[in-house]
Subunit: 142 residues, 2 copies
DNA sequence: ATGGTTGCAAACACTTTGCACATGA
DNA sequence: TCATGTGCAAAGTGTTTGCAACCAT
């Protein structure tokens, strides 16, 4: 019998020196099953649907912890709040429709060469960057 | 007698159908004399130095109004708050040192061609974008 | 058993809203 | 004069902190 398990959340947590608690497993489960960055509210709703309850504060703490361990990546869309995504996703950026809120992944932005330029020109060390696009999606342009 | 005035804030306001009040003139004066995007706190301090007092709420309202009129542009550095810059500045991006907080302008990022690609590939209409870099500045790398 | 985790209450930072008064055009 | 702008009080949203109880290992 073949059980192909790409990715085990309990192990992922323990590898990061974190205890595999139901709350943390719930958060990882939610973010594993979506391809768009989620804010705290959406994560909470999804957790409810999964039957995983936890305090708001606990959720914030989990998100911070997982971010520090580089398991999650925070993203901002100029909304005044953070969204989170699995950090393991290959590099990509986002397009956000300002009308309907839809989010599309954008690949192939080749920021790497930009960063190389900046590093050599300015002598800085670039560790992270944000690149997001905003406008109207195909459906909202009429 | 030659008076070379590149830019008159009162006129700029009236052209946007806004009354030229001391509070608004103060905010524009502050942002005119800095080249880095400022947050509400820094703007408030600068206003104090100029002797221009106003309620925190008024400042937020002014910043929102000027943003709507495209006189200012809001920018976010993953700090959980907004910064503001004159919108008239030619397109540029920023490098933020995560250690000392220093901000450097980054030019020549040529996001235009990226946007062209995205538009044709996805059929979306890109109206704005954010592109910021984070890491260690030349002085903070030791 | 014990140190990392969680819940609860409270606080904090940033920003917005409502309404009465004030002021620039 | 009168629509627009401002101050004050209050509230809203997103997030953090302190501390005692709890539970994964």
């Amino acid at each position: 019998m073949f059980s192909i398990k790409i990715h085990n959340c309990s192990d992922e947590l323990r590898n990061a020196d974190l205890k595999a608690t139901p709350a943390r497993l719930g958060v990882l489960a939610v973010l594993e099953h979506t391809d768009k960055p989620l804010d705290v509210q959406s994560i909470t709703s999804s957790l409810h649907r999964l039957g995983v309850m936890m305090d708001r504060v606990t959720l914030f703490r989990i998100l911070n912890t997982l971010t520090q361990k580089s398991i999650l990546k925070p993203i901002q869309f100029n909304e005044g709040k953070l969204r989170y995504e699995y950090a393991a996703k290959p590099e990509h950026h986002h397009f956000v429709c300002e009308k309907c809120g839809q989010i599309e992944d954008i690949e192939d932005c080749n920021v790497g060469s930009l960063i190389k330029n900046i590093s050599s020109k300015k002598g800085v060390l670039v560790k992270r960057h944000s690149l997001e696009f905003f406008g109207l999606c195909a459906d909202c342009q009429d």
